[in-house]
């Protein structure tokens, strides 16, 4: 199966919370190993923040008063932006998901893969692309002048609250689309037919047979989009829109005050954790979606359905990826920028790959440990582990990085900056691997493992021949998602990267101020390339491998 929304479902949804299989909950005891794993996870996420908070309380007379001084109108503005992106991103995603998952039609798998393109491009690269495209002397402004519109309407409009919402919606809607597509694919079409038999019209049938499946996907996407937008700094900064994360940065930049910055990050962290908790309360018993859950059969699409879906999906892809990135490509050819920036980008690209691959491996190891120790474990352990890991995702990256820096001073003063960068990335994104792998491993049937035992397989053989084949896709997906997110990360890496070991996003940001536009576009393109190439390469390799295996089996 190609990499698709199924994996993303696992990120957003509940995991084995508890896992319900064959109508019963099965638990076992692995307290020590789980506790050790939880301690490792807490050392990555909770400990650094605790150190920062202890510093804040020790260094400040009244930490509460610091928080009271924060500009909470900005918090409202941030949540408004996050709400709008969550709303429109989810709505657009549901429409796209309907096109992909509502019917069986040839070509939808290709679109499903193409939808990953806007998703793997970091949001601030989208912002750079759009500002390039809509700038005063750009093609869109020239075209608008031809038809008699003010050229400044769009070139200035992109630098606004609405512009930020637009860019973020386009950057994030594929998450909602892939979740919705998966939810629809799982919903049995026989329910729609049954509803029709009982006299329901088209919309009633949809409401009662399809919507219950879509609802959880919509809620999960809304939560993810809200969290991602609320924690975003890159896009609002590039588009000159003030948000609450800016308050945190103001405390750092203008006042060089780590304690206040820590306190100011509290509302975002609390809101993030609360939102995840709220999502869990609303979706307490949703089944885990993974490869091991069979998809519902969907009817074949009509020609009209295929045509409308294809046109709509092409339009979405063009707006979300093709046009801004294509224009960026054309800009990057000016002033020999691709070559010039290519030379500059070599070392940052190498460092970015090192950090991102290492972080993905670390998160998978951690998630693997959790998967092994939580299998059939008590539900509260799953929730506690999840909460510990979600902290790293919810807190602004720069705060996490500061915590790790002070933590390393206290406990491991000789730890290299490279290790700290990798640990910071792992702490940020461990929750993704965790949700993917723990959920998938929990669904490996005990019968398979017991059968291996009866056959006399050793532990390694069981892993090699039973567990690994079943978890191959989740492992690959966890690796790729953490890799791509790590490639785009800037908040935590900017505080920690070793001299000479800057990442591509840092290189991009450091030339953004006064460099020619073509240089910025070229550097952004190299980042896009770094995100997209391994993704597509692995997908193609996986497809080739599957085809070869199928062919070999036929021959054999």
């Amino acid at each position: 199966m190609p990499i698709n929304s199924r994996r993303l479902c696992l990120i957003s949804r509940n995991g084995p919370n508890p896992v319900k299989r064959h109508g019963e909950l099965r638990f076992s005891d692995t307290s020590c190993a789980w506790l050790a794993t939880l301690t490792c996870a807490a050392a990555l996420t909770v400990l650094p923040l605790s150190i920062l908070y202890i510093r804040a309380f020790l260094e400040t007379d009244a930490p509460g008063s610091i928080l009271a001084a924060a500009d909470f109108s900005l918090l409202g503005r941030t949540f408004a932006l996050a709400g709008i992106v969550a709303l429109f991103g989810t709505a657009l995603g549901l429409l796209v998901g309907q096109c992909l998952g509502g019917r069986e039609w040839r070509g939808r798998n290709t679109f499903r893969l193409l939808l990953l393109l806007p998703l793997v491009v970091p949001p601030y690269v989208h912002a750079v692309g759009w500002t390039n495209l809509l700038r005063m002397e750009g093609p869109v402004s020239r075209a608008s002048q031809v038809i008699g519109l003010s050229s400044s309407l769009l070139s200035e409009g992109i630098y606004s609250f609405g512009g930020a919402a637009f860019v973020l919606t386009l950057a994030y809607f594929p998450i909602a689309a892939l979740l919705a597509e998966k939810a629809l694919a799982l919903s049995p079409y026989s329910l729609v037919e049954t509803a029709s038999v009982f006299g329901a019209n088209r919309w009633q049938a949809y409401l009662y047979a399809r919507w219950p499946y879509l609802r959880s996907a919509a809620l999960s996407s809304g939560v993810i989009l809200f969290l991602l937008t609320a924690a975003e700094l890159g896009v609002p900064t590039i588009l000159k829109v003030s948000v609450f994360t800016f308050e945190v940065f103001t405390q750092l930049s203008a006042f060089n005050d780590f304690s206040s910055a820590t306190m100011f990050a509290t509302p975002l962290t609390v809101a993030g954790v609360a939102l995840v908790f709220f999502e869990r309360q609303l979706l307490p018993n949703e089944e885990v979606q993974s490869d091991l859950v069979e998809a519902g059969h969907q009817p074949s699409a009509t020609t009209r359905y295929k045509l409308v879906s294809t046109m709509f999906l092409l339009a979405c892809l063009a707006v979300a990826f093709g046009v801004p990135i294509g224009h960026m490509l054309s800009t990057a050819f000016e002033r020999n920028a691709l070559y010039e920036m290519g030379r500059v980008a070599v070392n940052p690209a190498r460092a970015t790959i090192l950090y991102s691959v290492s972080a993905a491996v670390v998160t998978i190891l951690l998630a693997g440990l959790f998967a092994a120790t939580l299998r059939n474990g008590k539900p509260w352990r799953y929730r506690l582990s999840d909460s510990v890991l979600i902290v790293g995702f919810a807190v602004p990256g720069v705060i996490l990085a500061l915590g790790l820096l002070f933590g390393s001073h206290a406990f491991a003063p000789t730890a290299s900056a490279t290790v700290l960068v990798i640990l910071a990335l792992a702490a940020r994104y461990a929750t993704i691997s965790y949700r993917t792998l723990v959920a998938s491993y929990a669904q490996v049937p005990d019968e398979f493992l017991e059968a291996a035992k009866v056959e006399g397989a050793t532990g390694i053989e069981t892993l090699r021949f039973v567990v690994f084949p079943l978890l191959r896709v989740p492992l690959l997906v966890a690796f790729l998602i953490v890799f791509v997110l790590s490639v785009g990360e800037i908040g935590s890496t900017i505080m920690l990267y070793p001299p000479g070991g800057e990442t591509l996003p840092i290189a991009l940001y450091s030339i953004e101020a006064n460099s020619p536009r073509s240089y910025v576009a070229a550097m952004a393109l190299y980042e896009v390339l770094l995100c997209v190439t391994p993704f597509l390469g692995l997908l193609i390799a996986y497809g080739v491998f599957r085809s070869a295996r199928t062919a070999w089996r036929r021959i054999a």
Partner: protein
């Protein structure tokens, strides 16, 4: 719980611990500081500072590595890195675009004194009294004017003109909490006194000044005609002119009986205390203070050399032709720290 599952768990755990340990050791090995490498933290735009550091590498035979600032993250990655790493610094030199941050680092005990022989020709006014920082090339604060919107005869001549009714809603400045704008405002407080400076800021706010995110954004807004004039740095103005925008940069408060003068902001270089390579760092500091670097900066970003006798292109304004705002840079840095809460309040007020 099956035996096989237990074996798997043990195997997985053991492998993970071994892998993590190996990873830590391997990654830790790369941390050894090299005596052939000097790390320079610089808040000067990368497009201008990187060629200088590359040239230093070639000329000195030492690997000179830059840690650059990013305007979009407002120095978060630079000064805070130095502050957070004060016990275990990974940098040797701090090259700042203005004296405020150098003074801040001095007050925090991050920098060391170094009386560089290369600093001898530089006027004392541009050097710290304790040799914690030394100025070299300088930028000026300028008023960038959109020539399509403002005729030469109408141009403001003083910062006080910006509060007059004819400029209502037509002026932009960068957020005064950050960068050189904060330093400019602190210099005004130091020079004018708190009351007059606060009154000027209040009048500016009353006149509906546009507060934008950065000097680069001021440049963009003036160049695109969103505002008529904006206070920015001479290198930003130079970039706009180089890009062919309809703009002109002018110096303010140059005439009259007792002119206030225009703020001149030198680059500064400081040695970081307990840096990994102090010997190499001294060589690089001497190199940066030399006339070769000042010539490079004059050519790339129109910065005026502070060492007398350095040849510069015609477009670079000589400091001899500027009536400077006479300020004590260390005092301005102290003032900046003092007025920060007021500036935050001012920037956020309606």
């Amino acid at each position: 719980m099956t035996t096989k599952l237990l074996i798997f768990r043990r195997w997985f755990c053991a492998q993970s611990v071994v892998a993590a340990a190996a990873f830590w050791v391997l990654a830790g090995c790369s941390q050894q500081p090299s005596t052939d490498r000097v790390v320079v933290y610089t808040s000067v735009d990368r497009i201008f500072s990187e060629p200088v550091l590359q040239e230093a590498s070639r000329d000195l035979g030492i690997e000179v590595v830059g840690v650059y600032d990013t305007e979009e993250t407002k120095s978060t990655g630079l000064v805070n890195r130095l502050l957070a790493r004060r016990d275990n610094p990974d940098g040797d030199i701090f090259w700042s675009g203005d004296p405020a941050r150098a003074a801040l680092l001095k007050s925090q005990g991050i920098t060391d004194s170094y009386d560089s022989p290369a600093a001898a020709p530089i006027p004392t006014h541009f050097k710290d009294t304790d040799d914690h920082w030394i100025g070299f090339s300088a930028r000026t604060r300028v008023l960038l004017v959109n020539t399509d919107l403002v005729q030469e005869a109408e141009e403001p001549k003083s910062i006080f003109d910006l509060t007059k009714p004819e400029w209502e809603g037509r002026v932009a400045i960068a957020n005064p909490l950050f960068g050189t704008t904060s330093f400019h405002i602190a210099a005004l407080f130091d020079k004018l006194g708190d009351d007059r400076a606060e009154q000027w800021l209040t009048d500016l706010k009353t006149n509906d000044v546009s507060i934008v995110s950065s000097n680069g954004e001021v440049k963009r807004q003036v160049a695109t005609g969103q505002v008529a004039v904006g206070l920015t740095d001479s290198d930003d103005a130079g970039e706009a002119i180089k890009d062919g925008a309809s703009v002109r940069s002018i110096l303010l408060d140059q005439g009259g009986a007792d002119p206030l003068g225009n703020l001149v902001m030198p680059n500064t270089v400081s040695l970081i205390r307990n840096g990994p390579n102090p010997e190499g760092a001294r060589k690089v500091v001497d190199y940066l203070l030399g006339s070769g670097v000042q010539r490079m900066l004059a050519e790339s970003c129109a910065q005026a050399p502070l060492t007398p006798g350095v040849d510069v292109p015609e477009n670079v304004v000589s400091l001899d032709a500027v009536v400077p705002m006479n300020v004590n840079y260390s005092a301005v840095a102290d003032k900046l720290e003092e007025i920060m809460p007021y500036l935050k309040e001012w920037a956020e007020s309606r």
